[in-house]
């Protein structure tokens, strides 16, 4: 394990930047997002969650796939084989890091997705422990420990130091290139930081979130529950919850007609939308209630059913903060399970 004085943190970023393209949470016009680090960029150390999650790096909102150029009677097909350079992302939280594993199950199971895979391989993920978890955080409900973030490198921060520990080969490789900036230290130095985080996490309001109903009740029974009728009422169908969610994974493949050519692209889709999984006869989920139900059934029932019991929520709390109507997965998980 290594450490560096916290006051030197921008020197650390500058060093990393000289070795590899670096992204970190920074404020852009009032909203925190992962931004490319240039000298002068201010790191938003206190922001736990960026508005958009870190999934964007591997599964961007729009991904061009191919372009069809039409001239006269011939069509030229240009496949997008654009490569991503290697990059590092600093400040990924434990929940977002866990979300990559959930996305991997979708995008890397055979046949694996080449666009996703390529970006995933190029990335070095540097996580950051959460000293002050928010009231909206419930990662612990999914067995995530905010004091032990994983990734290629893990970091912890005390008042005076940033601690750095490589976990993987990719992490070691980056560490070796910048090792001279650090001081060596032993693992014992971060025990109290970790303990403080654990104590804080135990006090979070959703620490006792019980998901047994979702584990033990049959799919059909939950699907048919009358509770859906009331829990979806305030929903606008805006899809904000799905777009900010690190584990929402649905996409659409569309054509963009520019007049002279057609561009085939992949884009995020949302089960909350009227044209989601639209087929010749329309959207199989005709009402907002059905669309709303799909989101939570997917996260809490269908996904675990197909993936050895793993829920596809990491408790990041983004949907709790972003929903304009204050609906969210906690309310749904509890209300649908409630006895009354």
């Amino acid at each position: 394990m290594y450490k560096i004085a916290y006051s030197e943190i921008y020197n650390l970023f500058d060093r990393i930047k000289d070795v590899i393209t670096l992204f970190l949470p920074a404020k852009n016009d009032g909203a925190v997002s992962f931004s490319k680090y240039e000298s002068g960029t201010r790191y938003e150390a206190d922001a736990l969650n960026t508005v958009r999650s870190a999934k964007d790096f591997f599964f961007p909102q729009t991904q061009n796939i191919a372009e069809f150029k039409i001239s006269g009677k011939s069509i030229e097909i240009l496949q997008n084989t654009e490569e991503t350079g290697k990059f590092a992302v600093f400040g990924v939280r434990a929940c977002d890091e866990k979300s990559f594993g959930i996305l991997d199950r979708v995008f890397l199971s055979e046949p694996s997705d080449p666009y996703y895979n390529e970006k995933r391989e190029k990335a070095v993920i540097i996580t950051a422990a959460c000293n002050y978890p928010e009231e909206t955080c419930f990662c612990t409900a999914f067995g995530i420990d905010p004091s032990e973030p994983r990734g290629d490198v893990s970091t912890w921060v005390s008042e005076d130091f940033l601690y750095w520990k490589a976990n993987t080969e990719k992490g070691e490789e980056l560490t070796n290139k910048i090792a001279d900036i650090f001081e060596r230290c032993n693992d014992g130095e971060i025990i109290s930081i970790k303990n403080n985080i654990k104590t804080a996490a135990e006090k979070l309001p959703f620490v006792s979130l019980n998901l047994d109903y979702w584990r033990n009740t049959g799919e059909k029974e939950i699907f048919a529950s009358e509770k859906w009728e009331s829990v979806y009422k305030g929903c606008l169908g805006c899809g904000t919850c799905t777009f900010v969610c690190p584990t929402c994974q649905c996409y659409d493949v569309r054509d963009f007609d520019s007049g002279k050519s057609v561009r085939k692209f992949r884009c995020w889709d949302s089960c909350m939308y009227s044209d989601f999984t639209k087929m010749a006869h329309g959207n199989p989920r005709k009402s907002q209630k059905e669309r709303f139900r799909q989101r939570f059934m997917h996260k809490l029932k269908y996904f675990p059913e197909n993936n050895g019991g793993i829920f596809s929520c990491v408790g990041c709390g983004r949907c709790l903060k972003s929903c304009p109507q204050s609906l969210n997965i906690i309310k749904v998980a509890r209300s649908v399970a409630a006895d009354d």
Partner: protein
């Protein structure tokens, strides 16, 4: 004086038992003190609340509610009432099937502004009992997992509350205890627009490009807007060629906003919901308020729908062109 949720609920219950309505659309308490959600109450009032966090405008829900048999009682704040009136004027709701109960408003609290003060782990928010001044400048005690913090209430009200010029209800069936409303206007309604008007055009262009490029096209701004009530929005229509998913270039986002702004021009009731709901904090109200300001200056209308009226003295397009020139 404080607005008490129980007193409002008492009134609602009386109206329902008097047969004025069959169900109630209002707000429901959430997991925290601040996450109230719009909710339909049919047989009981479990969780009913009306407090400083009921910012969501309920009037648009009336499009669907008023298609049902019987009557829906809906709680309407002063700013919401303008949206309800517009929905009625545009024949988007069946007004007969709605009982609009106007409720007083002393401004609603924006959690994001509280968080901008570096507050984390909020577990409770209370109004400071001592030092309550009569001019509404009270303090909030923010209780968090990491200690308490005191923040002046005015500094964390929604922007839409700070630009709310009057607390008058329009078109409600009844207004309950309007004397409890408090003035929250900061006197700067058009300041933001003026600032942008005074920018050189390239600076203005890059301001909007940078703001609008953050847009994730979640459509929350459109879906919440009481004026965006088209049965099928052009951006949801695959055959239009501009369906919302075709954001393969971020210029598409910019176009979406410009088209939407034009469509609500002259109709926008300045309820501020679009800016409130935007997860990326894009100041959408500035687009709409520019029209509101222009319409006021050029045509003299502020509350009436300008596009429905024509007079011979109306400004000619050349006037508009010349005004634009100034800033080129």
């Amino acid at each position: 004086m404080r607005i008490e949720s129980d007193i409002i609920l008492g009134k609602v219950k009386r109206l329902v038992s008097d047969g004025k309505a069959d169900r109630v659309f209002a707000w429901k308490k959430g997991n925290f003190c601040y996450d109230t959600e719009p909710s339909l109450f049919t047989d009981n009032y479990v969780g009913f609340t009306y407090d400083d966090f009921c910012a969501a405008n309920l009037c648009k829900f009336m499009i669907n509610e008023s298609k049902k048999d019987g009557k829906t009682l809906v709680l309407i704040k002063p700013c919401d009432s303008k949206g309800l009136a517009l929905l009625e004027k545009e024949h988007r709701i069946n007004r007969e099937r709605i009982y609009a109960l106007g409720v007083p408003c002393a401004g609603k609290i924006d959690m994001d502004k509280i968080r901008e003060n570096g507050v984390k782990g909020v577990i409770g928010i209370e109004e400071e009992k001592e030092n309550v001044s009569c001019n509404g400048d009270e303090n909030l005690i923010i209780k968090t997992l990491y200690g308490d913090k005191i923040i002046p209430k005015k500094s964390v009200l929604y922007d839409k509350c700070l630009s709310c010029t009057d607390k008058e209800h329009v078109g409600c069936d009844e207004v309950f205890m309007p004397e409890l409303s408090e003035d929250t206007y900061d006197g700067k309604k058009f300041e933001g627009v003026k600032k942008i008007e005074n920018m050189p055009s390239d600076e203005r262009f890059s301001f909007w490009r940078s703001q609008l490029s953050k847009c994730i096209r979640c459509n929350a701004c459109r879906n919440v807007c009481p004026v965006c009530s088209c049965v099928k929005c052009i951006f949801d229509n695959d055959n239009s060629g501009i369906a919302s998913k075709a954001n393969s270039d971020d210029f598409e986002e910019n176009l979406y906003h410009i088209i939407r702004a034009f469509h609500v021009c002259g109709r926008c009731v300045d309820c501020g919901e679009c800016s409130r709901v935007c997860p990326e904090k894009i100041p959408l109200h500035l687009l709409n308020r520019k029209y509101i300001k222009d319409i006021k200056e050029l045509y003299g209308y502020e509350k009436e729908p300008a596009l429905l009226t024509f007079t011979k003295s109306d400004a000619e397009p050349s006037v508009i062109y010349e005004r634009g020139e100034k800033n080129v």
